[in-house]
């Protein structure tokens, strides 16, 4: 798989030429250079911080909304269409408004990452909780479980595999949201570097950053996928 991708990449690089692309080897050498240069780390740390915070917020808020609406049929009847509508709008158009609200800085990036990630997590959780087989809930009631135990003992584990799928999507979208936020306006971060690199037509940096991001997202997503499969295997 990886070999195939590399071959495709190499072939494309030869086809396109030097103006817009680098070969895998060149990219990796440059990536290594980048990783050893001290000026790179503050950017990485900045993005990492913003992304981590955004992801945390997205997960916590998303799960809360998902569970609330999943349990309360009426609230979900009212709000689910709103969530779906929000999911489908190009959020980048809202970025100016976010900037107006949060100013240029970490807060706006975090907010932008969060609004990208929170809705899919909420929607998946909502569906997962609602799809918990009624017989499980009945079993809980027959055992006289209260709401808290019902959630922790039955709803959460039963809905876990689907929630995980939502987390995976949410993870990806939060990352891209954070990066987009940095690309549009910021002073540090990988998105900022990427935007500058595009502005300066610095193909090396573009390739190396994209490579790093894909690598990071790929391994994180792979890990989540692996955990997800484990969860599904039991079910």
């Amino acid at each position: 798989m990886i070999a195939l991708l590399l071959v495709l990449w190499q072939a494309l690089a030869w086809m396109v030429g030097d103006v817009a692309m680098r070969t895998p080897l060149q990219t990796m050498t440059f990536t290594a250079n980048l990783l050893t240069s001290p000026s790179f780390w503050p950017h990485l740390a900045e993005t990492g911080r913003a992304f981590g915070l955004a992801l945390l917020l997205a997960v916590v808020i998303g799960l809360a909304i998902g569970f609330l609406l999943g349990i309360n049929r009426f609230a979900s009847d009212v709000l689910e269409p709103v969530l779906v509508a929000l999911y489908s709008i190009p959020k980048i158009t809202l970025y100016p408004i976010l900037l107006l609200m949060f100013g240029l800085g970490v807060a706006a990036k975090v907010a932008f990452g969060t609004i990208h990630g929170v809705i899919p997590i909420a929607l998946f959780t909502l569906a997962a909780v609602r799809n918990v087989r009624p017989v499980f809930v009945k079993t809980g009631r027959v055992m006289g479980l209260g709401t808290g135990r019902m959630i922790s003992g039955i709803l959460l584990p039963a809905a876990m595999p689907e929630i995980f799928t939502g987390l995976r999507v949410g993870f990806s979208l939060t990352l891209i949201g954070t990066l987009l936020g940095e690309m549009f306006a910021s002073q540090r971060g990988l998105g900022f570097m990427l935007m500058n690199a595009i502005g300066l037509h610095n193909v090396d940096v573009i390739m190396a950053l994209t490579f790093l991001l894909v690598l990071f997202a790929g391994s994180a997503s792979g890990l989540l996928l692996f955990l997800n499969r484990r969860l599904y295997q039991r079910a």
């Binding site: 030429g17 103006v19 817009a20 000026s39 900037l99 107006l100 100013g103 240029l104 800085g105 549009f184 306006a185 910021s186 002073q187 900022f192 570097m193 935007m195 500058n196 690199a197 595009i198 502005g199 300066l200 037509h201 610095n202 940096v205």
Partner: protein, 306 residues
């Protein structure tokens, strides 16, 4: 007091280079301004909105954003004239291209970034300098300067605008057919802005920033190579590219006017900028350049407008 300042396209365009130098050489501190960070944003509007939101007392932006903001009722004034010419612009072709000068542009594909942008305005002037009308050439938008380079390389456009420091990086690969420094009159390019009604402490901060920047510009003139090395680091450029770029811009004078100004206001250039932006439709209405300028932050020796 620790404050951020906002500089449009810092890290990409040449206009912000003096700030990199001032920061690195500690000029801000020397002058009494504790600048903690230089925020960058892609456009003047974002820069201004951030400044207005109270996160920065001083910003460096292009004049048309300032004018648009003032027209919308924002309480801001131009407090320093930072980049006085458009000398960073070079229009280049592939080495083997038959185009030698703007006169040969008839029927050619002429690149610019996006609608209503400065690059379009300047492109128009370049075409006119070759004795042609805009209808005589095919204007092609590329989306950005970076994107213009592969487009030129692949022959999708015949002429690409390449500003510094991009030009220093690619000058060996392409051939310049027009340089703004030679062709175009001085046009105010980037100005310093501050909001009205700030506290006295912030006003002092603005003054200090202007002084520090002036010092940095002087320093760059004296030590272009050291300045280049500082820029290389801040802009993530190769050393020789950055040195080259600084040297080029330090030496580029248009009608005797430097690229990086001291801060002193050049009304003529400002008026010309307004004209040019009106030409491409980026701004509209009557604007009195004098009424949007406030010179009280400038050092006494350059308070007078030129």
């Amino acid at each position: 007091r620790a404050e951020d300042i906002v500089v449009s396209n810092y890290g990409v365009s040449a206009n912000g280079m003096p700030f990199a130098v001032a920061l690195k050489k500690g000029f801000f501190k020397d002058e009494g301004a504790d600048v903690t960070g230089i925020l960058s944003s892609a456009g003047g509007g974002t820069t201004l909105r951030n400044m207005l939101a109270g996160s920065a007392p001083y910003a460096e932006v292009n004049p048309n954003a300032v004018i648009a903001a003032i027209q919308q009722g924002a309480d801001i004034k131009i407090v320093s004239d930072n980049v006085l010419t458009v000398a960073e612009f070079v229009w280049a072709v592939k080495p083997d291209s038959p185009i030698q000068s703007p006169k040969d542009l008839k029927g050619r594909k002429f690149g610019y970034t996006n609608p209503r942008s400065t690059s379009l305005a300047l492109a128009t002037l370049v075409v006119q300098s070759g004795g042609l009308k805009t209808e005589d050439v095919e204007m092609v938008k590329t989306g950005g300067f970076g994107e213009g380079i592969p487009a030129l390389d692949l022959g999708m456009i015949d002429v690409a605008p390449i500003p510094e420091p991009l030009w220093s990086k690619y000058q060996s690969k392409y051939r310049a057919i027009a340089r703004a420094a030679d062709l175009l009159p001085p046009i105010a390019n980037v100005v310093g802005v501050a909001a009205g009604g700030q506290s006295a402490a912030k006003e002092d901060f603005v003054r200090a920033v202007i002084r520090a920047r002036r010092k940095a510009v002087d320093f760059m003139r004296q030590n272009p190579d050291e300045a280049g090395d500082i820029v290389a680091e801040a802009y993530n450029l190769e050393q020789d590219v950055a040195r080259n770029s600084v040297r080029y811009l330090v030496n580029a004078t248009t009608d005797g006017i430097q690229y990086w100004g001291t801060g002193q206001i050049h009304l003529e250039g400002l008026n010309r900028a307004i004209e040019v932006q009106k030409m491409v439709g980026a701004i509209s209405g009557d604007i009195d350049a004098k009424s949007i300028v406030d010179t009280r932050f400038l050092p006494d020796d350059i308070k007078a407008m030129k």
